[in-house]
């Protein structure tokens, strides 16, 4: 069923014109069958079955006490879980490795809850999802008050107003009244259009300090704008 080695061959077979109708139909059918579900390495659906086939025998040996097989199981499970977590934790890419390790540790600690007659991957994914939800809950509680500041929304903010150049002059005055920890990130990110990473490099502030500074600074700025006489 694994078609990962075949796409090139399939393409050739498919593009070659069939001289006889029957043969063409056969070729076409073969091409269809292989190309309907191409195995892409980053597609979770396509990695599901091979992962089951490689991980399962290793864990079965490991649970009998085979250390080499068990270490190999853990290493390959780690790679699989890393991809699984990364796809779902897009807002916190720095935390992928932590969450993956928590899931791996849970898999090790609770390896006796896997029934050996049942498929392995649903069990593995259920543990990963449980740990992922734990992590998301902890992080969203921590960051619930903060706006997500990814590069896209920053670009959108920076380019939204065609007359931003004019507006900038007025904001400058108020911006000068903000404390440095708010003013500097806003100047870098919002006025000069630097990314958070670039701002971090230039100012030496941490990434979260930059984001928090931008967010709280903008809020403070908005309040002062409302309060300041026109």
């Amino acid at each position: 069923m694994d078609a990962s080695g075949l796409p090139g061959a399939t393409l050739l077979t498919y593009s070659r014109p069939g001289p006889a109708k029957l043969q063409h139909a056969g070729t076409f059918f073969f091409a269809r069958r292989v190309t309907v579900a191409p195995a892409r390495p980053n597609n979770p659906q396509s990695t599901l079955k091979p992962a089951e086939e490689t991980l399962r025998p290793l864990l079965l040996l490991g649970l009998e006490g085979d250390r080499a097989a068990y270490a190999s199981f853990l290493a390959q499970a780690a790679a699989h879980l890393r991809a699984y977590v990364r796809r779902r934790l897009t807002r916190w890419p720095d935390d992928v490795e932590d969450v993956m390790q928590e899931a791996l540790l849970a898999i090790h600690n609770h390896r006796d809850t896997w029934r050996r007659t049942e498929p392995l991957m649903p069990w593995l994914h259920a543990i990963a999802r449980y740990k992922l939800i734990d992590a998301l809950r902890a992080r969203s509680m921590h960051e619930a008050m903060l706006l997500p500041l990814d590069d896209e929304s920053e670009d959108a903010l920076a380019d939204a107003d065609p007359h931003a150049g004019e507006a900038r002059r007025d904001v400058r005055v108020l911006l000068e009244t903000l404390p440095d920890r708010f003013r500097v990130p806003i100047e870098c990110v919002k006025l000069e259009g630097l990314s958070v990473a670039e701002t971090t490099q230039r100012t030496g502030m941490s990434a979260s300090a930059v984001k928090v500074g931008v967010h709280r600074g903008l809020r403070l700025l908005a309040r002062r704008l409302r309060e300041s006489p026109r």
Binding site: E64, G65, R67, R82, L105, R111, T113, W114, W123, L124
Partner: protein
């Protein structure tokens, strides 16, 4: 810690495990809890005085069989829900069907009973005592089952809590049947059911909080 080091460290410790760890943990919890509940029943309530004669009545065995069937279904459900990704739809459906059939039978008998005797038939002389006793006797099994489940890895915490609650309630009802001297089927259908459903509902409410494992 980098992942390679973690893998190496984990593979160094003991790795072999027996195949029936979940069943053993929950079985021990059930046995211990049932023993405690029985001792509590004997100490606080006592066996019914006419037990010897009652052993020949079908009603005594019905009061024992109904909770035991639910206890069996709940035990199956709990061992499945104790594992990641486990779900126990068939056991849940079977439990609901058995309980619903019993309640319907109780209501049917009440419906055809003469109007004057209905209240006596339904409430007997110990309805409140029955519900309270079953709920109280369910505590040991529930507590031990929660401890056992936390050492497993349930991922549907609400369902697992409900299953553990039903296991505890049904076991408690089977224990209480040795004390209870009610003889009417409607009593069994209404109050035993309520006594067993209550711990299950409490288990469902507390499950997400109590069963969170790390």
């Amino acid at each position: 810690m980098n992942t390679d080091a973690l893998v190496e460290a984990l593979a160094k410790g003991p790795i072999a495990v027996g195949p029936r760890a979940v069943e053993r943990r929950l079985g021990a919890a059930l046995a211990g809890g049932a023993t405690l509940a029985t001792l509590a029943m004997l100490a606080a309530l006592g066996l019914r005085p006419d037990l010897h004669a009652a052993l020949r009545e079908p009603m005594f065995w019905a009061k024992l069989a109904y909770p035991l069937v639910l206890s069996l279904a709940a035990a199956c459900a709990t061992t499945v829900l104790a594992r990641p990704a486990g779900r126990a739809r068939r056991a849940a459906a079977a439990s609901c069907a058995v309980a619903a059939a019993m309640v319907l039978a109780a209501l049917g008998i009440l419906a055809i009973a003469p109007a004057g005797g209905r209240v006596a038939l339904a409430v007997g002389h110990s309805a409140l005592a029955c519900v309270v006793a079953v709920a109280a006797l369910s505590l040991p099994v529930f507590a031990l089952a929660v401890v056992a489940l936390r050492r497993c890895a349930p991922t549907r915490l609400r369902s697992a809590g409900a299953a553990a609650g039903l296991l505890a309630g049904a076991t408690a009802a089977a224990v209480y049947a040795w004390h209870c001297d009610e003889t009417a089927l409607p009593f069994l259908g209404l109050w035993y059911t309520l006594g067993m459903v209550m711990p299950a509902a409490i288990g469902a409410v507390l499950g997400p909080r109590l069963l969170r494992w790390a």
